[in-house]
Structures are given as C-alpha cells and as structure tokens.
C-alpha cells in the first residue's frame, strides 16, 4: 500500500512540475495578448501615422475604435469618426448605433468644445463608464481612454496629441 502511494507521489511530483510550467506559460500568453491588443490599437495595421489630417472634427484625426463587443452591432474592430457632436445609442438616428437592449435610445454623446472632446452620459439607464468609472458629468477624453457601454468597449484615439509635439 505504502509503495503504491510513494510511486504515485513520485509521478505526481513530475506531473506537478509540468503543470506548473504549463500554468506559467498560459498566464504569460494571456499577459502577452493583453499587451498586443493594446499595441494594435496604438498603431493599427494599414494606417500610417503620417496620414494627412484635416482640421478638427472630421475623421482621420480622432476616432473611436471598438475594442470589444458582445452585441451584433457594432462589431469588434469597427472604427467611427466624429462630427462636432456624436450621439451613441440604440435609436436608429444615433451616429453610433448599439444593438441589443442594454443601451438606452440616447445613451451618451461626445462633443467638441474648447479644443477638447467631451463625453457626456445622457441619463442612460445602465450608465456609461470611462476607464471603468461611471460618468456622472461631462468629462474630457484623452488618447487611449476606454469607454464602456454595456458589453461594448470603445477606445478613444486621438493622433493629434502625439503629432502636436513635433511642431
């Protein structure tokens, strides 16, 4: 009986060494995926950074990228440009339409004021989150900020910030 136990322990020892290694590798890959998803957004393929930019408010300079989406519309990877005011909601007349029942008809808006882009929650039922903190009053968006509405996460990308330093 004891010999069987000891033999089992001996193989369990080797097995656990290998399991530990697999766990380590698994966590490291998860960590790597996190980093690479960040980098893809920072520098999307096929979009050279030196793209000619028009003045404020049109596409190219500023955009909203869908990082994650649990609904049919928008899909992960979609990008949206901006007007002077951009409405986000379930309603068909919104600039960015979110399918499903989680989002309110007029959920949130992003508008341009004093050289900044502001995010405002339009008293939505389920709330708007900026970097996982609920938005209660209009707040300025910075490059790479994450906006979450239900199961949809957008990332705010503003090239102008990085380009501005060169002038």
């Amino acid at each position: 009986m004891l010999t069987i136990l000891i033999t089992a322990l001996r193989y369990a020892f080797l097995l656990l060494l290998l399991i530990s290694i697999f766990r380590l590798i698994k966590w490291m890959i998860a960590d790597l995926k996190e980093v690479s998803s960040q980098q893809v957004i920072e520098n999307p393929p096929g979009r050279p950074r030196e793209e000619p930019r028009s003045s404020f408010g049109t596409t190219g300079e500023v955009e909203l990228v869908v990082v994650e989406s649990s609904v049919s519309q928008p899909k992960s990877g979609d990008t949206f440009g901006f007007q002077r005011e951009t409405l986000i909601g379930r309603d068909e007349r919104s600039d960015i339409i979110i399918a499903g029942t989680f989002a309110s008809a007029w959920h949130a808006r992003i508008y341009f004021k004093e050289g900044q882009y502001w995010l405002e929650d339009l008293k939505s039922t389920n709330g708007t989150f900026l970097n996982e903190i609920q938005v209660n009053q209009p707040i300025v968006l910075a490059n790479r900020d994450k906006i979450r509405i239900g199961g949809v996460i957008f990332q705010f990308v503003r090239w102008g910030y990085e380009m501005g330093a060169d002038h």
Binding site: L9, L14, S20, I21, L24, M28, D31, Q116, I139
Partner: protein, 439 residues
Amino acid sequence: MTDGSYGNYISAVAKSAARRKGRRVEWKLLSLIGVYAMIGAAALYLGSAGAADRKVVFACVSVVAAYFLVSFYWHYSGYRGDCFLLPLVALLSTTGLIFLFRLDPAYGVRQFFWLLIGLGVLLLTTRLLIDFRFLSDYKYIYALAGLIALILPVFFGQEQGGAKSWLDLGIFNFQPSEFVKILVVLFLASYLSENRAVLTVGTRNLGGLALPGPQEWGPLLAMWGISLLLLVYQKDLGAALIYFSTFLTMVYVATSRILYVLFGSTLFAAGAAASFYMFDHVRARFEIWMNPWPNIETTGYQIIQSLFAINSGGVLGSGLGLGFPGYIPAVHTDLIFSAICEELGLAGGAGIIILFMLFVYRGIRIALKTTDEFAALAASGLTALLGLQAFIIIAGVTKLLPLTGITLPYISYGGSSLVANFILLGLLLNISHEEESDL
C-alpha cells in the same frame, strides 16, 4: 478637481487594478509550487523509509512560506515588479532544494538557510536599490572593485574542483566571481549607454568600415584580456565563457553591429587556441570533451557518469529517490542537472530548460519595455548572464560544450551563487517596477 488630475486619478486606479491582478497571478502560481514542493518532500520522506528525517518537509514548507511573505510584502508596499519572475525562481529553487535533500540532507539543510538568506537579500535589493539609476554613476568603481575581487583569489585563493576562484573567509568559502558578474554587467551597461553612439557609427573609416577610435576599443580589449587571464590563471573556463559571451551580447544589444560579435568571437577563439597549445590543463579539458572514453577511470569519469545518468533516466525518469546519482562527482553543484535528468527523465530535464527559457523571455521583455538606455542594457545584460550561465552548464553536462565548473542558477548548491542570483533577480525586478510606474 481639474480634468488633468482626474485623468491621472483614473489611470492610477486602472494601474493599481492591473498590479493587484499581477500579484494575484503570482500567488496562484506560488500556491501551485507549494503543492509541488509538498508532494516532492512527502515522496522523499516516505520513500526513504525513515533514513531521511522530516527536515525536508519543514524546509519546503518554510521556503514556500518565505516566497509568499516576499510577495505579500511587495503587495502591501505597492511594488510593481514583474509577477512571473518570482514564481519561476521559486519553482527552480524548490526543485533544487528537494534534489539537494535527496542527494545529501546535509547539503539540503545548508541550501535551505542560503535560500532564506537569498530571499532576504532579494527583499533588501528591491527596497534599497529601487532607484537603481544611481548605480550608473559609479562605473569605474565597479570596474576597480570587480578587478580586485577577481585578482584576489589568484594570490590568496583556494583551489576547489580544479578552479582557483575561492576565498576562505573563516566561516565559509566565498566565490567573488559570482558577484563580479553583476558588477561587470552594471559597468558595461553604464559604459555602453554613454558610448553607444560612437560605437555604432564609428569615428574613422578603415577600408570601407566605419570604426570607432581606440578609446572606445579599450574596454573590448580589456575584457578579452581579463577573460583569458581567468581562463589561464584560475583555470576558470566557465566564468571566462560567461563573461565574454555576456559582454558580446551587451555590445550587440547596444550597437546592433554583428561585426563586433564576429570580431570578438574570433579574438576569443584565437586566445583559446593559443592557450590550448600553451597550457596543459586547457588541452586536457578539450581532449576530455572530444573523447572522454579512453580516460573513463580518471579524467573522463565525471562526464561519462553524467552521460550514463542522463541516459538511464529515459523519458519519465526513474522516480524521485530511485536513481543512483551518487556515482557522479560534484553532483550537488555543477552536475545537479544530470541527477534531475536521471530521476525526472527527459520530461523533467526539458522542464528545467523551459523554465530558464521563460526567465530569459521575461528578462528580454523587461529590456524591450524600458525607454531608458542604461536600464535596457542592464536588463538585457543580467538576462544574458543568467541565460548563458544556465546554457553553458547544461551544455557542459550533456557534452555539447566542454564541462566547466559553474553552477546551475537557483538549483545548484552554493551560497555565493544563490545570493548573487537573487541580487540579479532583484535588479531585474527593480527595472520592471520602474517601467510599470512610468507608463
């Protein structure tokens, strides 16, 4: 609250969330390693039918607890160092501890105390040297200290295992070259980050090749000379190989010119060839490596026993405690990898190699993420140092390279080596801590 500070606040919240997640990953991995160590200790304790005492169980519990304490301390002090390096080292060092208890409980007990001291030194390093940048200011002091520490054993040293690189400090023997390695990396990181531009572009043109002036060549030649001196006077072939290959790696990282690597390797090969003809012990080493079988009873005994042990392990090994590693000379230090291969087989041996590769991967990642030149060079140098040391000794015991007397980091018995490698770990963690805080 102004918008700027609010943004900072938000990103600080997000970052601390990420850090907590990182430490949780570390705890999960450490728990798994704890179970692993317990099973190993139980197998050893029950398997040897009373001959081994229960010290092994106690030692494993304490060491795992000590790792947890280090991690808890980091958690509460807000330390942001890489969360995979500590579990990697924990897995390597508990494996080493269990094997040392299996080989000789006396070594196991001493290794246990050295591990606790090493973890203490790790905590001190991550606390006192957390702003490691000031280290770059004292490069010539390192160069001098390192040189003195290397030369001392030539005059006052003791010969152990064929290499004259030990100092007798009364209570214990001390191997300065283990610590000098780290000083060399810091010196080179500081020196290269200052002279990188000149070394990369060159100041004069020589037959179509842009080469820097002699003031930039100086350290290269000095390193070459020191490596050869080590090789010849201390018979410390392993240390010489590590120094020189780490040096070439760092020069390549700094300049990305393959020319320096080729030139440096040629110089080293020339020096090695010359010492082959001039010195008997170098020639003996080389001949044993090429063909140990004629001297199976004498000089080739060690490597042949190592090969026998690795071979007898098979794929899954004989099982912990069932091999015959007692036949291998120096099995507790340099040749511990052969004992692991014998008892855990190809699976265990490959596992150890993968662990070192993962360590190197994390180190390179830390080096790539930093924006600072000194930090990037120091991180890549320290990583190269550890990776090359593991490679050279594993290659040595498997007869891929001539067998040299160096330790397998974190696994082999040896206080100097263990403490030095924990300092190395602490420095790497400090660099990753800084880059996580900067982002």
